[in-house]
């Protein structure tokens, strides 16, 4: 008779046999959620009447990414053939047999379809008149159908109020997506997640950083707005603020771990994450510094965006994959083997998102700006 010898620490055998339950596709999922933050910023900007020049870009990018969000968890399901049961019978109300509230059910079966519907309607209405103009130019009946009968500027201007209502409802629903899946992680027994009080805030600022960085890069690549500092000034300012906030929140989290567990054997669990946290901090510092320097050297905004995106990728991998390499007991760490297929799935999901961006970007006139009384 023999007993299992664990490499280090105290593991439950099921946990040891398969430490990473939520595979890297969930990491990809958490990055794709950035589409929800893009929509959130677009809705806020619409209600406030700002950032109109990049509104169309944010809508196309945000909607494309939001529509593929659920492919991440779908790819991670062990019984994907049962997935439809979540959509027709989500468990959102507690009962005696099933107490509590399932965030997965709410986000997947309630919040996602609602936001997707609102965003599709908002995007169609927002692009309605420009699509009519495209129809006039090209004679393509598809544009006419998509313009929803908005054939003049007066009708288009009348849509502003309904669009603001949609933007308000959409932005309220999207708040839940901004902190997801950090909120879900807090519902688990993963030692790192349940002891990371700053996680929802870290995820929130990282979403914003990721989105704004994507938009700045897209502006450079697609040349949507004139490349002057003033055009992208608000975005650079946001990158500076959120990268600083990400640095502060990560440092607070590390400090909290030290304060709570420093000197105990449990502290080793958190040191497992410190390598990637250091790397993320360096990248956020680069993003912060280069966004400040962008005032003088505008091309540094590219460096700020790339460093910001890389920082989020490193931080997310750390908090999602590496955190699962820690034993549920908090007294063991393992280097998990990630199957190669997982990386292929990540690439595939992103590829579908990019494909949608290309499709929607070719259908909708990205880059137009509407000013009342001035036409397009």
């Amino acid at each position: 008779m023999s007993y299992p010898e664990y490499t280090s620490g105290y593991w439950y055998p099921n946990n040891f046999a398969e430490p990473v339950i939520w595979m890297p596709v969930v990491f990809a999922y958490s990055l794709i959620i950035s589409g929800s933050a893009l929509l959130f910023i677009a809705y806020l900007a619409y209600m406030l009447g700002i950032m109109r020049r990049v509104m169309s870009l944010m809508l196309v990018f945000g909607l494309s990414m939001f529509l593929v969000i659920l492919l991440g968890p779908l790819a991670d399901l062990r019984a994907p053939d049962n997935a439809w049961k979540l959509m027709i019978g989500p468990r959102v109300l507690p009962s005696e047999a099933s107490p509590g509230f399932s965030l997965i059910a709410f986000q997947g079966a309630i919040a996602w379809p609602l936001v997707a519907l609102i965003s599709i309607v908002f995007t169609l209405l927002y692009f309605s008149y420009p699509l009519h103009l495209r129809y006039m130019e090209t004679g393509n009946p598809v544009y006419r159908i998509l313009s929803l009968g908005v054939s003049d500027e007066r009708k288009y201007a009348a849509l502003e109020k309904p669009l603001k209502v949609l933007a308000f409802i959409g932005s309220v629903l999207l708040i839940t997506w901004l902190v997801y899946p950090a909120t879900l992680f807090m519902q688990t027994s993963n030692f790192v997640w349940v002891n990371s009080m700053a996680l929802p805030f870290i995820f929130f600022v990282e979403e914003i950083l990721m989105d704004i960085a994507i938009i700045v890069l897209a502006i450079w690549i697609l040349k949507v707005v004139k490349l002057e500092f003033n055009s992208i000034k608000p975005f650079i300012a946001i990158i500076a603020i959120v990268s600083a906030a990400a640095i502060v929140s990560l440092l607070i989290q590390v400090g909290t771990w030290y304060f709570m567990f420093g000197g105990s054997p449990y502290y080793l669990a958190f040191t497992h994450l410190y390598g990637f946290i250091s790397l993320a901090l360096i990248l956020y510092l680069i993003a912060f510094a280069s966004s400040l320097l962008s005032a003088r050297y505008i091309s540094l905004s590219i460096v700020a965006s790339i460093a910001g995106i890389l920082g989020v990728v490193v931080s997310r991998w750390n908090f999602i994959v590496k955190a699962q390499e820690v034993s549920v007991t908090g007294l063991g760490v393992i280097e998990a083997h990630i199957p190669l297929i997982e990386y292929a799935l990540i690439a595939g999901i992103f590829a579908i998102g990019v494909f949608l961006i290309i499709v929607l970007g070719s259908v909708f006139p990205v880059g137009f700006e509407f000013k009342r009384g001035e036409g397009l």
Binding site: N14, A79, K85, L86, G89, R91, S189, N190
Partner: protein
Amino acid sequence: MTQAVSRREVIKTMAKSAVALTVSLAAIKSEASSAERGKRRWAMYFDVSKCYGCMACVVACAAENNVPIGSFRTWVERHVVGDGVIVFVPKQCNHCDNPPCVRPCPTGATFKRDDGLVLVNDDLCIGCGACIEACPYGARYANPIKGVADKCTFCEHRIHLGLLPACVETCPTGARVFGDISDPESVISRILAKTATQRLKLESGAEPMIFYRDLPEVANK
């Protein structure tokens, strides 16, 4: 005045009555069995001082429930306590009164039955892994054959027939005791009434329904 009733109508009425009677009886029976079940509260008691790590329970469980290789519905931990004494601690799903695994389940596949058993409905489980991540005891695993979350059921299919769970029946030292704690005359109730017991990770708020005697602190993590 007489009313003519055809044979066809008589047969139709009788058939309807038979169906109605069957449905009513089935409903009454199901309600009765549910009510009977609801009166019970299954629990288990482990006497750590009696366990000598033979693993018979682990093998019996695997054989009874077709547990895949590498996964465990129950396991026995070997711990060395301060004075060099080796102790064996059996562990498994605690069928908690406030089960943390039920809360995140998006489809209701994981549920708590009225007799306290925490079970998984394979037909509803989508295999998202949320319950596995939520269990503080590492008692759940993703069944690679069925593609769903899996765990100890207290051998629900056996206790339904009045038998003991396979692990309890196999234990050669009587370290495992299973029974209904809502019945003050049951063996487990009498043991719990006169024995100081411990439960795992009470700080999690899960209210586990597995009671230990002589549980070493080193195993309660």
